[in-house]
């Protein structure tokens, strides 16, 4: 009997698909966390953006585990949950992902300060993109102080995000023996 159906073929135990699904779920949870932080009055209208840090980290270190459709989904998820302008957050995040991938090979071996500088640049591009879309929609700009505070606090907290994500990544690698880098 010949083996033609995909169901009959042997399982690919080295497939990265389960990891990709888990990372997608983690990304969606991160969108929730971002929204939850907004309940703290100090972050009113200017919550830090851990999703950008997550996308940047993943695209630099594990580019094959976080695909653009997942990032689109994360953006849409945030837009649905927080009544944001449809498409603007999603497109912004995808631009972040594409920018993060530029010079990816060199970024994996650069110093932390260089990574931080690249991240700051990407946050600025994201904020400028969102400001541009907002301006096209309403011919006005939102509160500059809140926008700059949001960008600033995201840049400022990057080392924290980086350490947390590196620790999680290292722990998971030790537990499961990552070979997907």
């Amino acid at each position: 009997m010949s083996v033609n159906s995909p169901l009959d073929s042997p399982a690919d135990v080295r497939s990265t698909l389960p990891t990709q699904i888990l990372i997608a779920l983690a990304g969606l949870l991160l969108v929730f966390l971002e929204g939850s932080l907004a309940t703290w009055s100090i972050f009113y209208a200017s919550v830090p953006l851990p999703t950008i840090a997550f996308i940047y980290y993943m695209r630099v270190n594990y580019p094959h585990l976080l695909s653009l459709p997942v990032i689109l989904l994360m953006g849409l998820f945030g837009e649905m949950m927080f009544f944001d302008m449809l498409g603007s957050r999603a497109t912004g995040l995808m631009i972040v992902a594409l920018l993060s991938q530029l010079n990816m090979a060199s970024q994996q071996h650069v110093e932390f300060t260089e990574l931080w500088a690249n991240f700051c640049l990407i946050v600025l591009v994201y904020i400028i993109f969102r400001l541009a879309v907002f301006f096209v929609f309403y011919f006005t700009f939102p509160d500059w102080r809140a926008v700059f505070f949001q960008a600033g606090i995201t840049m400022f907290l990057f080392p924290f995000f980086f350490v947390v994500m590196s620790s999680i990544s290292a722990s998971l690698s030790q537990l499961f023996g990552s070979n997907s880098r």
Binding site: T39, A45, M80, M81, D84, T91, D143, A146
Partner: protein, 307 residues
Amino acid sequence: MQKRSATKRAGQAAKLANILIILLGFILIFIAKVDLFAVRTVQTSTSGVLAPLFDAMTTPLTAVQTMVDGVRTAASLREETIRLRAENERLKRWQRRAEILESENRELRTVLGAVIPPDREAVTARAVATPGNSFSHTLLIRHGAERRIRRGDPVVTADGLVGYIIDVGRGYSWVLLISDVNSRIPVLLSSSSWPGLAIGRNASELELGFLPLQAQPRENELVLTSGHGDVLPPGLPVGRVNRGDVGGHYTLTPVVELQKISYVSILVRPEGAARADVDGFDRFYNPVPEQDGGRMLEGFTTKDIVQ
């Protein structure tokens, strides 16, 4: 050789897929501008389904906030006591003044024969999600259609107007805050009764626009809802006038501290009362005007410019 060309083809396909997905993002932005009813329905349904999960996630973070507030309060307890005593004295004076004014008001109403607007009932709800960025000032609150909440219902706190309901799910509703760029509240100046519009700017202050030329708002003057348009009831405090600039532009500071909202009241119509003019509200909210039976993109048509 074949392997190399296959890799090249795969790379080109990946690039094409990336371009297509970015294009999809831009198409979504375009769809958002067109403001399709179906998109809004999907958005409301999705957020309605996911809201309980989000609600559960915010609980520990809210607890942290409460703990921080508790520590801060304990630290400033002595100052707080002194301040509260002074405030209590001031409030007692105001209470006496209010009693006199209430009696005077009752007498004046019988003289003028003023019509009291139809009563509303208050539904108290917890704020689940507050704006996390500067691009959209909305609030997700507990309770929805199951508590007779409808689109257009005003949302208030003890201080004044917070916003109004823009979408209602079964157990959750969305509030458009008065500070959102889409918010336009018909208002009156409390002292001079000049009408105007309180316009949101996605900032901490609102713009006081469309005032008659003769109007000269005073600094710190209270601004109330006028009730024009029959969406919001009249007399709800909205904000206080800031100092006007040289060009005669005025701004308002909302009377409600929007960044500290934890509970709100929704003023719903009592059971059996006439429905709010939801169609009128739709026209009021929809950013895309209708021309010749079709929807056009505001500011993006050359037809009007040519004509």
